[in-house]
Structure formats: structure tokens, C-alpha cells
């Protein structure tokens, strides 16, 4: 009898434990599994917001993409004095294949693209009245990412030529299963541009304007103007830029200063990455600004050579600088609000595209090149010009758009050399990141970066 009790007690205790077995099924608490994420309209729309957030990461449009575009073009106008090696390599045009800024730009761009692809693949489950807008925005983000990828990693687009030189891999399907062969070869520069243009045209048809701070109809048009300009398709760029100026509600800010450091988009921001004190990081602040503004003290110092480009001392832009307390260098005032938005496309660019294209084509679509240039100059308080040449317009771009990520691409498309390097030098092309070469056997490295 006593033994009975003994064994009974043991059996009871063990039984209590066996009933714990259901305790082994535990679901994540603050994340959701993929099948939930990709099964409701609400979550697909959320994923689109996630794609914006990804695009706004510091590795891309949160700042590094723009900063590196300028550093790549600078020779004597500004100097990288910061301690980070990765931007210094870009500034000195001696990039190593393990440059982590470039690797992270690549990775981030494809992460944004994959999110956009997933949205596009699942557009059918989105509420019907949201479908067009969601689809259009996803196409815009994909096009934006591919455009900058191909500009940095693919050799320059040569107008009128067969652009068969390697561009970047074109991944157009959202990937959900990672247990498969994911290697993919580079498509040609021509194919990538064609995809970008087709995405933007489709997005243009789907989107309405305006669309708050998200991409709307004219955001895609404005990007299209930029893409056509890069291709040397001046007719296309002219039409697109002119349409944005005349048909959209975007207006130049009354002052030049007003176009920068805005907590909410200015009237001139066609597209800007949204930064708040609670989310997003403005990485242009990090490297361009002094420490009291949240920067590292001024990693990029503006040289006299650039300031000397201004020919009118009343030009607000000629004095849009301050001296760093930290290193005594001259810093741009375009980035002094740590939690300010990062402009990606401003209306001023559209005026300059229209002016350049009209001048090149000998037309006056929308307005004359002179008027467009003077619109920009007068807004900054600079004396209007009496006449403009192509060089004047290209100079005006440097005066207006410096430190906003235009320089290297402008130099390349106009076939100007960068210091001693001709525009098509191998050193003016990013290497495919070593890390990516290591895992994707189908990739071909750019010339000059070993194999």
C-alpha cells in the first residue's frame, strides 16, 4: 500500500510535466510570419511604407548616395577631411572592392526593390480603390533604385549607341523562398534603363497628384525627366520637366534658404525622404554638418574654388556656408536641421533640365532657357543673366544643386573629365562589392577591379 502511494506520487509529478508539452509551441510576440504579412490588403500597404523607409535608409537616399555622388565628382571644389575611409576612397577615386558604403548601398537598393516587388506581386489582394496608387508607388521606388544602381555600377549610358555594357542584375519578382538558387547575372545598361522607363511610365498612368509626401503622378514624371537627361534624350527630358513645372502644384520656395532644412516638405519638394526625431536618419547632416547640428563636425569642407564659381555677391547661394567650430572648415548650410527632410527631387532641378534641353534643342517649350535660368537665379537674389549658353546652364546646376548628389552623374553625361580622369575612366565606376562577387558566381566585375 505504501509503495502504491509512492509510485502514485511519482506518476503524478511526471504527469504534470508531460502536460507541459504543449508549452513548446511558442509564436513570436512582436513580429509576424511571412504568410500573415503577405495576406492582407492592410499589410501590403504597410509593406509599401516599409519600402519607403528602406529607400530612406542612410545607405541610400537618407544621405550616403547623394554624398558619394558629389564626393566622386569633387576634385578641388570640396575636400573629404573626415576620418571614414570609405568616402575617402570615393573622393580620391581609388575605391577598394570591400568598400562597405558601396556594399551597403547595393544591398539596401535591392532590399527596397524586393519589397517593391513583393507589393507588385501581391497587388491583387489590395483593396480595389487603393490598388492603382499602391502599384504606382511600388513601381516608382523600384525605378528609382534601379536608376541609381545602374548609374553607379554600369558604365555611362552613351546616347545613340547600343548600350550592351553590363548594368546591374534585374530582379523583378519578389523573393519569398530563400532556399533556392538566387544567383543572377547583370543585365545590360540598356535593359536596366528600359525597365526604369517602363516602370515610371506605368506608375505615371496609375498615380494621382499630389500624394502627400509619397510619390505621386508628377514625382514619377520628374524622375523620368532626370532619367531621360542622363540618357541624353533631351526631347523626352524636356517634355517631362516642362509638364512637371506647368501641370503640377509644386512651386519654388520664395527664398533659396526655404528649400532646405524643412521638417515637412516645402512647396518645391517633389520627393523628399521624411526624417523626424523619432525615425529616420539624415546622413547628410552626419557628414556635412558641425556637431551642434548633429554632424561629425564637417567631414566635407567646401573650398574657395567652389565659392569662386559665384559671380554675384548678392547671390544668397554664395554665402550659404558657415565655419565649423570643430575643424574650422567651411561647411554648406544646406544641412543644418538634424531632423529635417532630405530632398531627393526639387522643382529647381526641373527648371534647369528644361532650360538645358530647350537650349540643346533650340526650342522654347514652356519657357525660354534664359527665363528658366533667371527664375532660379532671381529666387536666390542673384542678378539675372542677359543671355545663357550651355556652359552657363551647367554652371547654374553646380551653383544650385551642389551637395545634393548630382555632380558625378552630370560630369559623366556631359563627358567632362573629373580632375585628370576622363569621364569614362574605370575608376569612375563603382566596383561590384566583393561580398557579392563571393556569393554570386554569375556576376561580372567591372574593369579595373581585379576579378
Amino acid at each position: 500500500m505504501k509503495k502504491f502511494k509512492t509510485y502514485g506520487l511519482i506518476a503524478f509529478l511526471f504527469g504534470a510535466i508531460i502536460s507541459c508539452e504543449k508549452e513548446l509551441d511558442i509564436e513570436p510576440i512582436q513580429e509576424i510570419p511571412q504568410e500573415v504579412a503577405l495576406s492582407s490588403s492592410e499589410n501590403i500597404v504597410n509593406l509599401l511604407t516599409g519600402a519607403y523607409e528602406s529607400a530612406g535608409n542612410i545607405d541610400a537616399y537618407g544621405g550616403r548616395l547623394q554624398m558619394l555622388s558629389d564626393l566622386y565628382g569633387f576634385t578641388d571644389q570640396a575636400t573629404w577631411v573626415g576620418t571614414f575611409q570609405q568616402p575617402r576612397q570615393v573622393f580620391s577615386k581609388n575605391i577598394l572592392v570591400n568598400n562597405s558604403f558601396i556594399r551597403d548601398f547595393w544591398g539596401n537598393a535591392y532590399s527596397t526593390i524586393n519589397m517593391a516587388n513583393l507589393v507588385i506581386d501581391h497587388i491583387d489582394i489590395v483593396e480595389p480603390d487603393l490598388q492603382k496608387s499602391v502599384m504606382g508607388q511600388a513601381l516608382f521606388l523600384r525605378a528609382l533604385s534601379y536608376f541609381d544602381l545602374v548609374r553607379f555600377f554600369g558604365a555611362n549610358y552613351e546616347p545613340g549607341a547600343q548600350n550592351t555594357q553590363p548594368g546591374v542584375p534585374l530582379s523583378l519578382k519578389g523573393i519569398t523562398d530563400y532556399d533556392t538558387d538566387l544567383t543572377i547575372a547583370r543585365s545590360s545598361v540598356e535593359e536596366v534603363y528600359a525597365q526604369v522607363i517602363s516602370d515610371l511610365q506605368e506608375a505615371y498612368e496609375l498615380l494621382k497628384s499630389p500624394n502627400s509626401y509619397f510619390a505621386g503622378k508628377y514625382t514619377t514624371k520628374a524622375l523620368l525627366a532626370r532619367v531621360y537627361l542622363q540618357q541624353g534624350n533631351y526631347q523626352g527630358a524636356l517634355q517631362a520637366a516642362s509638364e512637371v513645372i506647368t501641370d503640377s502644384k509644386y512651386k519654388l520656395t520664395p527664398s533659396f534658404e526655404g528649400a532646405f532644412n524643412n521638417d515637412v516638405n516645402s512647396t518645391e519638394d517633389i520627393f523628399a525622404i521624411q526624417i523626424t526625431s523619432q525615425d529616420g536618419t539624415n546622413d547628410l547632416i552626419t557628414h556635412y554638418a558641425d556637431q551642434p547640428f548633429g554632424g561629425r563636425g564637417g567631414d566635407i569642407v567646401v573650398e574657395e574654388t567652389y565659392i569662386d564659381l559665384f559671380d554675384d555677391e548678392n547671390d544668397e547661394r554664395a554665402g550659404f556656408f558657415y565655419i565649423s567650430d570643430y575643424n574650422g572648415g567651411t561647411l554648406t548650410s544646406k544641412y543644418t536641421n538634424q531632423f529635417g527632410n532630405v530632398p531627393v527631387i526639387r522643382l529647381a532641378e526641373m527648371y534647369l533640365i528644361r532650360a538645358e534641353c530647350n537650349l540643346r534643342l533650340g526650342s522654347e517649350t514652356g519657357d525660354s532657357p534664359l527665363n528658366d535660368v533667371n527664375t532660379i537665379r532671381q529666387r536666390a537674389g542673384a542678378a539675372p543673366r542677359a543671355a545663357v549658353t550651355l556652359d552657363d546652364i551647367l554652371l547654374e546646376r553646380e551653383l544650385e544643386l551642389a551637395f545634393e548628389g548630382f555632380l558625378i552623374h552630370d560630369l559623366k553625361r556631359t563627358q567632362r573629365s573629373v580632375g585628370e580622369l576622363p569621364y569614362n575612366d574605370n575608376r569612375l565606376l563603382y566596383p561590384i562589392p566583393q561580398r557579392e562577387m563571393d556569393v554570386n558566381s554569375l556576376l561580372e566585375q567591372n574593369p579595373g577591379y581585379g576579378n
Partner: protein
């Protein structure tokens, strides 16, 4: 009938009742087994040490008790036999804690290293694990770097994992300890920093799989069983120990002074920009750096290293009270520890307390509880990859004054001045830990015992930080970050122990039971900016809250286990164990796994054929095989997950993890063959082991093409093998009453090799490390530096392109992009060893431990800044003065070229072997004779001097051959140094008093 009656009568007539008391050291000893030799009848002593047994004269009573010498007494005329047992002096009969029970070392068929409180106490270092260093074969202990709270890596028989945790399982009195790094900064903290060595009785390290298989899916990295002290029967004893010591860095490096800085950088600028422009640039920069001081007359030559590193101190004080009577044993202790680290701004203070109680409720039921709590407060500094961490001050120019005339830190230095951070910011971590266990043990039958344990571990941590207006990079009128984290784990174990000795021939023990472990983690944090002034530093004063986070996660383990040991004639030993583990961490179909082990031993010295060898006192051969698992993979690693994000304060979602429903634990299979020996009455004894440990199904973050949108997937892929030999040699050189000298040597060699990788053996490359088949794990993968072209001072690299015959081309190039990487060097030592000597002469005790490691290399990732022949304005290591200056110079430092990137890229130039021998600790003590102290009521008074990291012999040029970067949680396993502080070298004096 008569005959029968007679026989019965006869036997009754001869048998009588023997009674007596068994004692040890004058105290009654309960639970002693008493057996009549050659029969199965026996009994046990009660809790008063009394027994009574029926026996006949001439029969022999055998008294056995674990840890005591077995005694045999012949029954004579009397009816009373009192026995006084003595502790078994032979090391080979130590009691080894094996998990859910104990075993005698003599009969053990596993490889277990045992350390006692003597080995670990009094060592002046905050981390308990540090004191294990050099004491056990095959156990490598490395503190990440010189920060007091720094993470500690313990590797038992090599690294058995890549992507899952490589730390052993720690079990404190049966409670698996929470051992997750919970630092909110990049630099890991040691979660076991909360343990104080004064309350620890012993540490048993289960090294082979046969020993650790009883811990199943958590035993793959070995198991460290920590047993705390218990009270012993007798009058209560107070023990007081106090010590205080000073610390300094083990090493300092040489950096350029102002003279040398000006010389090198003027030259570097001229080499890049020509005489005129170069001189102007250099002088302009010197003007900036010197902040208005007269650099031309060398007004300032700041030694930044001396500002970052400081002399620290270590204070320890602990008091314990222990004792007991026949029913109740108690142990109370309290300890205080205070460290001021060797890096400016790094301090730690800890208070611990413990109560261990056991009570014998009846002769069958024993119960008890252990409870400990501790509070550890740490003043932390930034991780190694932060500009404001003190060690990065070595990059500052010696021309820059550290302080302004008014005493404030100079804000206009090349890099942000860490002294501003030190003055205007703080980061404070407090860890409270409560660990306890309540247990009951019921002896149903003499041979059947039931144990039920409920253990609980709470790790509660808060972090408070504030960065004031004047700290570097501060732009938001102050910023505060606070966090609160609680992880609790409870474990409920129940097991039965069956023990039977049959006719003194068969000795059987079977343990079987189950265990349920549930762990919950909850984390919250808040970040705020905009404070009225720096007088307000708490989060509630922030005008704007910019961030808040909360995370919860859980995991559970459900386990069934059994172990059987059998010994035949005390010579032939067998053991088998099995454990079935289920865990919530694994995919649904992979939730359960079974881990088993088998082992056998043969005590040859008991055999007759060896009886003639008098010199041989003990010889045992043992062999084992076992399986264990490694479940250290995070709670939700197999799921495909999306997390919530915010863009412009609008919610969204973002994929963060690729799915793998087949994810399961890593499987480790280990074979071990060992020989234990003792000669000349065990004056010489030791062990030799050979093992092969295969870790299969390694959990790896397998890199994916980033064009897929994700950068890796977690997979069970790959196989690595560790195999090696271990030697232990203990000698008792002098054994006299007032003079003993013991030596203990351990030496082990481990060969680590990656055997199989996924995707047809494709390399996995992370930064400067490679995982490649046939190579050691995380071997270095770098382009090869070829030195300096004597003609022009260019840095050269070997191209290492493959020649048609398969060899590597040793042609050189100046373009690093044209050089191919090669596998060279490994981050792990392959030989490690320790040598401990203990000498007792009258009242004097003297002991020291040397430790050595050979075969590891360290990659100094900071070399491209520190030793870059004047590439940027960072102060340079003094060896850069060896730079090439004119044609014909033969040197390994290229021509100095400001911004010239001359040889300044990650290459073997910054890789170096890190072999070392270290005098790890040294203790000299003197115990006053009892006669001298009895008068003042003391039973013991000892004064001692002790040193930790006393001496280092190494050819390594960096700070410390053991220091690794703490930036990024995996950096330590990859042998990377990045502005990592050297370890502390500490000298203390102290005393022990017992009364």
C-alpha cells in the same frame, strides 16, 4: 525437526546486534552505508551517525561514504563498534558533480575537470570565469579586453559552433543560469559578473560528450557545474576575508611624441604635395591641432594613452558564517567587490549575499533551499568602435592639448575628445540577480530516492545614460536613454535515483527523470532629448521623447533523461545516458531530439596481473562516445519574420528574416579515450585524453546574394571538427608534515578544421575572415603584404594569382585591387597550457600559475589608422618612424604619404601571431600559528599578497595578446583587435580571519 531447530538456534545464537556511531572529524556522520562483507545485508547510519545491524562475530562490516576512505571492521566480542572515518586523501577519489547526482572520480568514465574553492578564491578579478584561466586542460578562458564588465569567452575543447553560441552551459546548484549578453551598447557584458567566487565550493567542467550528454541539446559546448558552499556539522564558523589591490594595464604601446609627429607628417605632406605646398599644408594642420599653443617650440606634447589608461584598484571583502547540527546545516555569506578599472571612467561595484540551508525532516525526508541575490553596478564606457571610447584617444595628435587653460577638456581635437564624454556623459548599468532553488529528497527505500527541485533565476538589468550638451556629437540639448530588462528562467526537475550494491560485486545506479525549463524575457527602453539644462539628467525631464521600445520573447525546453552506471568488482565500469529534449526554438517537425552516450572504464591497477608493480598505484583506461546539441540560436530563428517599422511616424512593415522551417540544433558527436594514472602512491598522477568532436548541422548565417533582398539565411549546414589531446600531470614533489610542494601541469592541443560547407563547399567570407573547407574556422583571409619597394618606397602586395602549375604567383603589385586574398593564420590558439605550483611550508603558502597559448593570430583592424605611415593625421605607432625615406632603404614601412593610401588597406601587414606565456596569478600567504591567535579568540589568521596577470612574455606588438574588439558581438570570435584595451594587471594584499 530438532535438527532444524538446532540449526536455527545456532545461527541465532551467533548473531547479535552491533550498534555504534560513525563520525568524521569528531562529528557524527549520517548516511554512511554499512554492509556485511560478502552478504547483501546492510544498513545506513541515521542523522545522529548511529547505526545498528545484526552480525556474527568474524563477519566484516564495510563502512562506505563518498569522499571518505572505506573502512572495514571485524565483528568481535563486543556489541559496539564506533568508527571514525577520514577524508580520502587520494585525489582520484574526489567527488565529482555530474548533473543530477555525483560520482567518485575513481569510478568516473567521463572527462570532467574539477576545480575547488582553493583554485579560484582570492584572485583579484571581477569575473569569476577569469580565475579558471590556466587551471583545466582544454579549457580556454579569454576576457574580451580590459573593461571590467567585458564579455568572457570560454572554449572547452575548441570552438564547436559558428553561428550558434559557443559558450558552455552554466548550472549553479542545478539551476541553468541565464547567460545572454544584454548590453544595449555594442560591447557585450559578462552576465556572470554577478557571481562572487567566495561562495563557491567547486566548479566541475564536463568536457566530453559522455559527461555532458545528460544536458542534451544544451551540452554541446560543455557544461560548467557550479556548486556553492554548504554548512558542515559543528560549531558555527565565521570566516572573514578582505583584500585591496591596485591595477595597471598589462601593457602600453609607444606612440609618436610632438617632435616625431611633426617630423613624420611634414615629410608625409611634402611627399604628397611637394616641398612648398606640403610644408604649408602640414603647418596649417599643426596650427589647427595645437589650438593656439606654440607647436613650433613643442609647447604641448600630450600623451593621450596616459589619459585613457589609468591605475585602478580592486577591493574585496566577504564574510561567511557556516555550521550545523545533526538536522540542519547552514551557510550564510555576504561579499562586496569594488573595481576601478584601468580605463578612465570604467568602474564596478557588486554586493552579493547567499543563504544555503538543508534540513533533515525525518530519516527519509531531507529538504532545503539555496537563495542568493546580488546587485552589480557598472559605470560603462563606449564600445571599441566609438570615437568617444577612451582607447581611441591614442589617435589624437600629441600637438593637441588635452585640456584648456580653464581645466575643461579641449573641444577642438582631431577626433572628438573623449574627456568631454567622460565629463559630460555617463552610462550606468545595474544588474540585480536572484538565483534560488528549493529542493526535497525523499528516501523511499534504502535503494530508491526521489528528488524534486524547483530552481529560479532572475536577471533584472537597468541601464541609465545621459549625454550632456557639451559632450561630443551632442546637438539636441541633452539625450537620455534608459532601459529595463528582466529575464527569468525557472526549472522544475524531478528524478529518481536507484542505487544497489549486490554482493559487493555489482554496483548499480540508475537515475531517471524529467525537467521543464521556461524562460521569459522582457525589455523596454525610452530615449528622450531636449533637457532644460544639464542639471536635469533623468528621462522624465526630457521635453521630447524620441524613441521607445519593448520586446518580449519566450522559450521552453522539455526534457526526459536517464542515466545508468554499473561497476563490476569495482574494476569494470560502464555508463549509459539518454536525454530527449524538446524546445520551442525549433521548427515544428524538428522539435524533439534524442541525445545519448555510452562509456566504459577499466581500472587496470585492480587486476592481479598488475599487482606486482608496486610503483603503480592507479591505472584506469576509459573510452566514451556521446551526442549533444547546441540550441543557442535565439528564440525565433526558424521563422520568416516581418517587423513593424515607422516612416515619418507612420506605421509600416519590413521583412527581417528568411524562413527555415527545418532549423534545428547543432549536433555534436564526441569520442574520447583517456588514461588515468598514478604512481608511487599517487605522488605522480594525471590523465591523458584524446578526443574527436564533430559538430554537424552547424547553424550558420549563410550569406545570400543581396540582390535577393536579404543578406543571409540561417541554416543547419556544415561540419567542423575539433580533435586534440590533453595531458594532465600532478606531482606531489614534497610531502612532509610541515612542507608540501605540489605541481600541476596541463597542456592541450586542439586542431580545428572546417570539414564540410554547403553549396558545394563554397567559402563563407565575413570581413577579414573566411570559413573554408580544410581550414580552421574563421581563418584570416587577406591580401598579402609584400613589403616596400626599395627603389621608390611604394607598398607592395603579392598578386597571388594562380600559376598554370597551381602555385601562387609571388609577383608584386602596388594596386591592392589586383592582389588576391590568401588564407593565412587562425584566430584560435591550438596549444594551450597551464602550470601551477603550490608550496606550503609551515605557515607559509606560495602558489603561482603560468598560462600559455600558442598558434593564434590577431588582426589589428585599427592598423590602417594607427600604423599607416602618415596616411591621415592620426597619431602613429612609433614603429612608423622606420618608414622608407630614400632609394635603397630596406624597411617594412612604406614611404610616408599624406592621403596617399600607400599600403594602407586591410592586408597581412596588420596580422600578427599572438603567442604568449603569462604569469596569470601568484599568491604568497602566511598563516599565524594557532597558539599565537587563540588568545585573541581566532581560529585562523592569514595574511597574503596576490597578483593577477603579473607578467606577460609575448612577441605580439599590440596592446595585449588576449585583447579583442568588443564592437559587434561576433568580433571576438574572429580574432580582431580594434582599439581594444589591454587586460588589467592587479596586485592585492589581504587577510583571512576565522573565528
Amino acid at each position: 525437526m530438532l535438527l532444524i531447530a538446532f540449526v536455527v538456534h545456532t545461527s541465532f545464537a551467533q548473531e547479535k546486534t552491533i550498534t555504534g556511531t560513525v563520525s568524521a572529524e569528531g562529528l557524527p556522520l549520517p548516511g554512511v552505508n554499512i554492509l556485511i562483507k560478502g552478504t547483501t545485508s546492510g544498513t545506513q547510519t541515521d542523522f545522529d551517525g548511529n547505526y545498528s545491524i545484526q552480525a556474527s562475530p568474524g563477519q566484516i562490516l564495510v563502512f562506505t561514504y563518498i569522499g571518505m576512505t572505506t573502512m572495514e571492521m571485524e565483528v568481535g566480542e563486543g556489541n559496539s563498534i564506533n568508527v571514525s572515518m577520514t577524508e580520502d586523501a587520494q585525489a582520484l577519489d574526489e567527488v565529482i558533480i555530474v548533473g543530477y547526482g555525483t560520482q567518485s572520480k575513481r569510478k568516473l568514465t567521463d572527462n570532467v575537470a574539477k576545480l575547488t574553492s582553493d583554485d579560484i578564491s582570492e584572485i583579484p578579478t571581477p569575473g569569476l570565469q577569469n580565475s579558471l584561466s590556466g587551471k583545466a586542460a582544454g579549457v580556454q578562458v579569454t576576457q574580451t579586453n580590459g573593461k571590467v564588465e567585458g564579455g568572457i569567452n570560454i572554449r572547452i575543447r575548441g570552438v564547436a559552433s559558428i553561428g550558434a553560441g559557443a559558450e558552455p552551459l552554466y548550472v549553479l546548484d542545478g539551476v541553468p543560469l541565464i547567460n545572454d549578453n544584454e548590453s544595449s551598447t555594442d560591447a557585450p557584458t559578462n552576465p556572470l559578473i554577478t557571481l562572487s567566487s567566495n561562495e563557491i565550493e567547486s566548479i566541475d567542467i564536463l568536457k566530453d560528450a559522455s559527461a555532458s550528454a545528460i544536458y542534451g541539446s544544451r551540452g554541446a559546448n560543455g557544461v560548467v557545474l557550479i556548486t556553492t558552499k554548504k554548512g558542515k556539522q559543528g560549531k558555527g564558523t565565521f570566516a572573514l576575508n578582505m583584500s585591496h589591490g591596485i591595477s595597471r594595464p598589462t601593457n602600453k604601446r609607444e606612440w609618436l611624441n610632438a617632435d616625431e609627429y611633426i617630423e613624420l607628417f611634414t615629410e608625409a605632406a611634402i611627399n604628397t604635395y611637394g616641398q612648398e605646398e606640403g610644408t604649408a599644408r602640414a603647418e596649417g594642420m599643426f596650427d589647427d591641432l595645437s589650438s593656439g599653443t606654440d607647436w613650433r617650440n613643442r609647447e604641448v606634447s600630450t600623451d593621450w594613452q596616459d589619459l585613457a589608461l589609468q591605475n585602478g584598484y580592486v577591493t574585496d571583502a566577504d564574510l561567511s558564517l557556516s555550521g550545523g547540527n545533526e538536522k540542519t546545516n547552514y551557510f550564510f555569506s555576504g561579499a562586496y567587490h569594488d573595481t576601478k578599472g584601468i580605463i578612465r571612467g570604467n568602474e564596478m561595484e557588486r554586493v552579493t549575499a547567499r543563504v544555503n540551508l538543508t534540513h533533515q525532516l525525518s530519516d527519509k525526508f531531507r529538504t532545503g533551499a539555496n537563495i542568493s541575490f546580488s546587485r552589480t553596478e557598472i559605470d560603462r564606457i563606449a564600445n571599441d568602435n566609438a570615437f568617444v571610447t577612451p582607447m581611441q584617444a591614442i589617435a589624437q595628435s600629441p600637438l593637441s592639448p588635452a585640456f584648456l587653460d580653464n581645466g575643461d577638456p579641449n573641444p577642438s581635437t582631431l577626433y572628438s575628445n573623449f574627456l568631454l564624454q567622460d565629463k559630460h556623459a555617463f552610462f550606468n548599468t545595474v544588474i540585480r540577480r536572484v538565483t534560488g532553488r528549493a529542493f526535497g529528497e525523499y528516501q523511499f527505500l534504502p535503494f530508491l530516492k526521489f528528488n524534486s527541485d524547483f530552481g529560479y533565476d532572475l536577471y533584472y538589468q537597468t541601464e541609465d545614460s545621459y549625454t550632456g550638451r557639451l559632450a561630443p556629437f551632442q546637438s539636441t540639448n541633452g539625450e537620455a536613454f534608459v532601459s529595463s530588462l528582466g529575464t527569468e528562467s525557472y526549472v522544475f526537475s524531478n528524478y529518481l535515483t536507484f542505487t544497489k550494491n549486490i554482493a559487493d560485486i555489482h554496483d548499480i545506479e540508475v537515475v531517471a527523470g524529467m525537467e521543464y525549463n521556461n524562460s521569459n524575457r522582457r525589455f523596454e527602453s525610452v530615449t528622450g532629448i531636449e533637457f532644460p539644462s544639464d542639471d536635469f539628467q533623468s528621462i522624465s525631464s526630457a521635453a521630447e521623447i524620441t524613441g521607445g521600445g519593448g520586446e518580449r520573447s519566450r522559450n521552453t525546453f522539455l526534457s526526459y533523461f536517464a542515466r545508468a552506471t554499473y561497476s563490476l568488482h569495482d574494476k569494470y565500469l560502464f555508463k549509459a545516458s539518454i536525454r530527449r529534449d524538446g524546445s520551442s526554438r525549433f521548427g515544428k517537425d524538428k522539435q524533439f531530439g534524442t541525445f545519448s552516450s555510452l562509456s566504459a572504464g577499466w581500472i587496470l591497477s585492480e587486476e592481479n596481473f598488475l599487482a606486482g608493480f608496486d610503483a603503480l598505484s592507479f591505472l584506469k583506461l576509459r573510452a566514451s562516445w556521446g551526442q549533444t546539441g547546441n540550441a543557442n540560436i535565439g528564440n525565433y530563428a526558424w521563422w520568416s519574420l516581418y517587423e513593424a517599422i515607422s516612416y515619418n511616424q507612420r506605421p509600416g512593415i519590413s521583412p527581417i528574416q528568411a524562413e527555415n522551417p527545418f532549423l534545428t540544433w547543432e549536433k555534436v558527436e564526441q569520442y574520447d579515450i583517456g588514461l588515468e594514472y598514478g604512481f608511487w602512491n599517487n605522488r605522480i598522477s594525471g590523465e591523458i585524453d584524446y578526443y574527436v568532436k564533430d559538430s554537424d548541422g552547424l547553424i550558420l548565417e549563410n550569406p545570400l546574394p543581396m540582390t535577393s533582398g536579404r543578406d543571409f539565411i540561417t541554416r543547419n549546414v556544415g561540419l567542423i571538427q575539433n580533435k586534440g589531446v590533453e595531458f594532465v600531470l600532478n606531482t606531489r614533489n614534497i610531502v612532509k608534515d610541515d612542507f608540501t610542494w605540489n605541481t600541476s601541469i596541463n597542456l592541450s592541443k586542439n586542431k580545428n578544421e572546417v570539414k564540410e560547407l554547403p553549396d558545394d563547399g563554397a567559402d563563407i567570407i565575413t570581413g577579414e575572415n573566411i570559413i573554408r573547407e580544410g581550414k580552421p574556422l574563421n581563418a584570416f583571409y587577406l591580401i598579402e603584404y609584400a613589403g616596400v619597394d626599395p627603389d621608390n618606397g611604394d607598398a607592395l602586395f603579392y598578386t597571388n594569382t594562380t600559376n598554370p602549375d597551381g602555385s601562387l604567383s609571388k609577383e608584386t603589385t602596388t594596386n591592392p585591387n589586383e592582389a588576391n586574398r590568401i588564407v593565412t593564420g587562425q584566430p584560435f590558439a591550438d596549444w594551450i597550457g597551464g602550470l601551477t605550483n603550490t608550496i606550503l611550508y609551515k605557515g607559509i603558502d606560495f602558489s603561482f600559475t603560468f598560462q600559455g597559448e600558442w598558434g593564434a593570430s590577431i588582426y589589428n583592424a585599427g592598423g590602417v589608422y594607427q600604423s599607416a605611415n602618415g596616411d591621415y593625421w592620426d597619431n602613429q605607432s612609433r614603429d612608423q618612424l622606420r618608414r622608407w625615406q630614400q632609394p635603397g632603404d630596406i624597411t617594412d614601412v612604406p614611404q610616408a604619404r599624406l592621403f596617399g593610401s600607400n599600403g594602407v588597406t586591410q592586408s597581412t601587414r596588420y596580422l600578427q601571431e599572438a603567442d604568449f606565456i603569462r604569469l596569470r596569478n601568484l599568491t604568497l600567504g602566511y598563516t599565524l600559528p594557532e597558539s599565537a591567535i587563540e588568545k585573541i579568540g581566532l581560529s585562523k589568521l592569514r595574511v597574503y599578497f596576490t597578483g593577477f596577470n603579473v607578467l606577460t612574455i609575448t612577441g605580439y606588438d599590440g596592446y595585449d595578446p588576449e585583447a579583442r574588439s568588443d564592437a559587434g558581438s561576433t568580433a571576438a570570435g574572429r580574432g580582431i583587435d580594434f582599439y581594444s584595451a589591454p587586460a588589467a594587471s592587479t596586485y592585492s594584499i589581504g587577510f583571512n580571519i576565522n573565528f
